[in-house]
């Protein structure tokens, strides 16, 4: 099934209508909370730097890809990681709205903790495949590596997550 090619309009938002999703991708990539605004601006600038010659079928997915790259570069440039699980706990401080079932909140906390144990590159792959829902060939295309490489690396990362989630009784 083909997805219609997006024909941009003058008032199109750059985030595919979802700035929160950009922040989520950056956060899952480990960008520290206090740096998020800077990182969001970097995403915006990187989007602006690209050639506007080609229409994008899925602007939201493309934006997520750019955000995931900014997150990986953030680590390379600064050599620091924020513990995602700690941030999530902080977000759940009293007074923060709880709009999600307990089971999902628990699962999010476990996954956040396990993401903390992965390398930035592995996080990027997991986010692009299972959060942004890009296919393996699409991920290979945007990262400039062979599909076999993406498969192999995803296999390692998911294998590690499986072992850890299994040890915690999640799966």
């Amino acid at each position: 099934m083909r997805q219609p090619v997006h024909r941009p309009q003058a008032d199109d938002p750059p985030w595919g209508d979802d700035a929160g999703r950009v922040r989520a991708v950056l956060s899952m990539g480990g960008v520290p909370w206090q740096d998020l605004d800077d990182a969001v601006q970097q995403v915006r600038l990187k989007l602006l730097e690209q050639s506007p010659a080609t229409p994008i079928a899925n602007p939201a997915a493309w934006t997520a890809v750019v955000a995931s790259r900014v997150a990986v570069d953030w680590h390379r440039g600064r050599q620091r990681l924020e513990r995602l699980r700690q941030r999530l706990v902080a977000l759940r401080a009293p007074g923060v709205a709880e709009t999600m079932p307990d089971r999902d909140r628990d699962l999010a906390l476990v996954v956040a903790g396990e993401l903390d144990e992965l390398s930035p590159d592995q996080r990027q792959l997991l986010v692009l495949r299972f959060y942004t829902d890009l296919t393996v060939p699409q991920i290979a295309g945007v990262l400039g590596v062979a599909p076999g490489t993406v498969k192999s690396r995803l296999h390692v990362a998911v294998g590690q997550m499986r072992a850890r989630l299994g040890a915690k009784g999640v799966v």
Binding site: Q41, P147, K151, V158, M161, V171
Partner: protein, 218 residues
């Protein structure tokens, strides 16, 4: 069929083989991936809904200049918000269809499309940025079947086990060269050597049935 193969099918979303369809291995692997998807979705929902201002104690921002924080640049950026939707040289004309033909070979496909798979003892490591050139001695080849007694791969990524250190001399390592021309190389060390090698060995016979021509771009 192995758990590894089932996991790969669950990861890629490809149609499983008849032998694998309906097995407990595939069900377990699918459950893992489903839990991962649900967890990331829930995590993303919480992070997306989080307030933009920090909740934790704020660490002062770096004193370095932030060119994107200049008012004129922000104004320019705002003016080009619509243009940003055009941005990017990558685009997708297809939906995320798991039946994508280029990704239909699962684990044997990874092996078939790799240029070199070799395991041995690290004899030398040189670093450039976050990339490494790794040389192996006492090499055993999985692919091709034979090769020189020492083998080097450049532009390799850090070990993928989440470690942040490069392999060291004398350490056992597995090198997977997906595409030497682009420096597309993975290095595995420690326990990852045996776990990765195990599924690659299992996938090797089936990989020989795959026409290398199908690896174009893979």
């Amino acid at each position: 069929m192995s758990n590894d193969d089932a996991l790969m099918y669950a990861i890629t979303g490809e149609q499983p083989t008849a032998a694998l369809a309906g097995t407990q291995e595939l069900a377990d692997a699918t459950a893992t991936v489903t839990a991962l998807r649900q967890g990331l979705a829930a995590l993303g929902a919480e992070l997306s809904a989080a307030p933009a201002t920090p909740l934790a104690p704020v660490v002062p921002l770096r004193p370095a200049r932030r060119p994107w924080a200049q008012p004129w640049l922000l104004a320019t950026a705002a003016g080009f918000l619509g243009v940003a939707a055009l941005a990017g040289t990558y685009f997708w004309n297809t939906s995320p269809d798991p039946a994508d033909s280029s990704g239909s070979r699962s684990l044997p496909g990874v092996v078939a499309c790799a240029e070199t798979i070799a395991v041995g003892d690290v004899t030398a490591v040189s670093k450039q940025g976050d990339r490494f050139t790794v040389s192996l001695g006492a090499v055993r080849y999985l692919k091709p079947e034979n090769g020189p007694a020492s083998f080097s791969a450049g532009d390799a990524q850090l070990p993928l086990g989440g470690a942040s250190t490069a392999p060291v001399k004398g350490e056992r390592a597995l090198l997977v060269v997906h595409d030497a021309a682009t420096g597309d190389v993975d290095v595995f060390t420690g326990a990852d050597v045996d776990s990765e090698l195990a599924w690659m060995e299992k996938a090797l016979p089936d990989s020989r049935t795959i026409d290398p021509q199908e690896c174009a771009g893979e």
